[in-house]
């Protein structure tokens, strides 16, 4: 069953009607409804095009958080071979909100790291809804160091509402862990490519996305704060998330204008969740192409370019 978002309700109704008609026809051979059902299909298809033609920033947030959207684990399973998860921060624990390990992208061995949100209640709880604790960032640091040591490119898949705001996480140094992960991103002498596949939530995202190249899926978001959080602080009303989403310029399209996203990856019509395989395939193509852009650069050059890129960000505002 499709999971409809609130703004897709009219679409759900039409698709539901077509479905009902067909169910009726199956029960009763004499009814000829195909023409009518086809008309409804056509109407639904047009509506989908219309709805997704120009999604508002808030709607993009909803699509980015869609439960059926492919998550990190799906990408790893679909795009990489020989995935060998590596666990633990060698300090305290293994954080299941962060997946990571060795894998091959085509023939190329890489280190893949990403946030995993989970797909049902059980896995969501196990993954802490993709909100990493310090151990997650420290695991990422360890894996980046390993990649650096053996000259493997790093691919990060970012999908998190943010770092976990919990008592234990704070006790064990959430800020320090994030700061060290960002620092490590800037230090490794191997290509670092990052794809924001869903939500790029604040510091929890930066810790993985301080990369040579940052790509964003068409309906993904990347922001300093969630629209709800921003609304409750600046509008003093958490219900003003639509306005906040608008003001924050958190869409892939705006972020490309701001020079934060280097590439925007087109999603299938109606979002990545409507055709997961196609969405994942375009991500693979993009990662390959971004990695090949970085091929042959010396470790020093990769580090320098990455630094320069971030030092220069924001100099031109929306005109970048």
């Amino acid at each position: 069953m499709t999971n409809y978002l609130d703004f897709e309700k009219p679409l759900a109704e039409i698709e539901g009607k077509a479905e009902e008609l067909r169910a009726l026809a199956r029960a009763n051979d004499e009814m000829d409804i195909e023409a009518e059902a086809a008309a409804l299909d056509k109407k639904a298809a047009d509506m989908l095009v219309d709805l997704y033609k120009s999604l508002t920033p808030w709607r993009k947030c909803q699509v980015a958080r869609h439960p059926a959207r492919p998550h990190c684990k799906d990408y790893i399973e679909a795009l990489f071979t020989e995935y060998t998860p590596l666990a633990g921060d060698r300090n305290f624990a293994d954080d299941h909100a962060v997946m990571g390990g060795l894998a091959r992208l085509g023939d190329r061995p890489v280190m893949v790291i990403g946030h995993e949100k989970g797909h049902d209640t059980k896995s969501r709880i196990e993954r802490n809804f993709g909100m990493a604790r310090p151990e997650g960032y420290r695991k990422a640091v360890r894996l980046m160091e390993l990649a650096h040591k053996f000259g493997l490119p790093v691919v990060t898949l970012v999908d998190t509402a943010g770092a976990y705001p919990g008592k234990g996480a704070e006790e064990r140094g959430q800020s320090e862990a994030i700061a060290r992960a960002t620092e490590k991103c800037l230090q490794i002498g191997v290509p670092l490519v990052s794809v924001i596949i869903g939500e790029g939530g604040s510091g929890g995202a930066v810790a993985f996305a301080t990369a040579n190249r940052v790509a964003m899926l068409e309906h993904s978001i990347y922001s300093v704060i969630s629209p709800e959080g921003c609304a409750s602080i600046l509008w003093k009303d958490g219900g003003k998330m639509r306005e906040a989403a608008e003001a924050l310029r958190l869409t892939a399209q705006d972020l490309q204008k701001l020079g934060v996203a280097d590439r925007v990856i087109t999603e299938p019509l109606g979002g990545a969740h409507r055709d997961r395989e196609a969405a994942m395939a375009s991500v693979a193509t993009t990662i390959e192409s971004l990695l090949s852009e970085l091929d042959g650069k010396s470790p020093q050059k990769l580090i320098e370019d990455r630094r320069r890129k971030f030092l220069d960000i924001g100099a031109k505002g929306l005109a970048a």
Binding site: P165, E176, V206, A207, V224, I225, V260, R307
Partner: protein
């Protein structure tokens, strides 16, 4: 000439003028409520003389107390593009900026000073919590980069006083990008082999803590400063649990291994000098209060050199030398040492 003009009117006037006194000359400690005389409070660096509570201090006041004789050169910061996102919530971002500039008299939320502390040349940079909550936007990022570059150019250590509610939401993603940008600045300092000391003051939260404030060679915090990534309210809302007393305060972080030291503001200068001079391979500092660098005569210079070997740990109980004319009213009164 009569009873009314000679006696009654002055009494009335004095009653009215007395009412104004508390506003101007006295302030109340946020913590214990004691009324504190303004001069005494300033001399004590906005630390309550009764309970030791550390109140807000502006970067300028801090620098005047920190640098020898209150003398420092302000380092210019390249201005970023204004209002890059054309951000508007209930107010426009440029209007909020103007209001903050008017209320603080400062241009932005960071101040960089170059000068000497107990004859130790440093670059200091301080975040102004009274300017839009000290929030980290592009200017703050530019300031940290400029301070690091100046430190590298002059081969001096960098001391950073952090104070911020987090990132500046009005600059959206560009405020978030200050996390990697400032991290690059810290890396440049480290590569140049220069000490980078972070003094975390109340409050240091959010993206600021999760970048340059947690990447120091040495982390010192002021007592009871709130230092965290997610604030206590956010955590309480998320986990629906009340948090223990002192959670995310400086002493708590010290216990949890995130800080090297918790040091009173009044003792901070001496401590910074001690640490920096050791890290920089310099001889111990001369104790006591020194006049401003330019104002030292040749005679004093030679005297200072002669005293160079004296233990810097022993605080001078002598009345400190008067600050040279021209230097602003000195707020350091022999409290350095120990």
């Amino acid at each position: 000439m009569n009873w009314i003009t000679n006696y009654v009117r002055p009494r009335i006037n004095s009653i009215f003028s007395r009412r104004e006194v508390p506003d101007n000359l006295w302030s109340k400690c946020d913590e214990c409520g004691t009324m504190l005389f303004h001069r005494e409070l300033t001399e004590n660096l906005n630390v309550c003389t009764n309970c030791g509570h550390h109140m807000h201090i502006t970067p300028r006041a801090r620098f005047q107390a920190l640098f020898d004789g209150g003398v420092f050169a302000e380092i210019a910061v390249p201005d970023p593009i204004t209002d890059p996102l054309h951000f508007r919530d209930q107010k426009k971002y440029p209007d909020r900026m103007k209001a903050a500039q008017k209320s603080t008299g400062e241009h932005e939320a960071m101040l960089i000073g170059a000068g000497e502390i107990s004859q130790t040349p440093i670059i200091a940079i301080a975040q102004d919590f009274s300017f839009m909550g000290g929030s980290m936007g592009m200017y703050v990022g530019n300031a940290i980069i400029a301070a690091a570059e100046e430190a590298i150019k002059l081969k001096r250590p960098l001391v950073l006083f952090s104070a911020a509610g987090g990132a500046r939401m009005q600059e959206g993603i560009l405020s978030l990008m200050q996390m990697p940008r400032t991290t690059v600045a810290v890396q440049m300092l480290k590569e140049a082999g220069l000490p980078y000391i972070v003094v975390l003051t109340h409050p240091t939260t959010g993206g600021v803590t999760a970048s340059y404030a947690m990447l120091g060679d040495v982390h010192i915090a002021e007592p009871n400063a709130l230092i965290c990534f997610a604030g206590p309210r956010v955590i309480e809302q998320t986990i629906g649990e009340t948090l223990p007393e002192g959670f995310q305060r400086a002493e708590y972080l010290l216990d949890h291994g995130m800080l090297d030291r918790v040091t009173k503001r009044t003792e901070m200068k001496a401590e910074l000098v001690t640490i920096l001079r050791m890290l920089m391979g310099m001889p111990p500092a001369i104790s006591g209060v020194l006049p401003a660098p330019e104002a030292r005569s040749a005679e004093e210079e030679s005297e200072a050199e002669a005293e160079g070997g004296a233990a810097q740990a022993a605080p001078s109980s002598d009345k400190p030398a008067e600050a040279p004319a021209g230097a602003k009213e000195s707020t350091q009164t022999g409290k350095s040492g120990k």
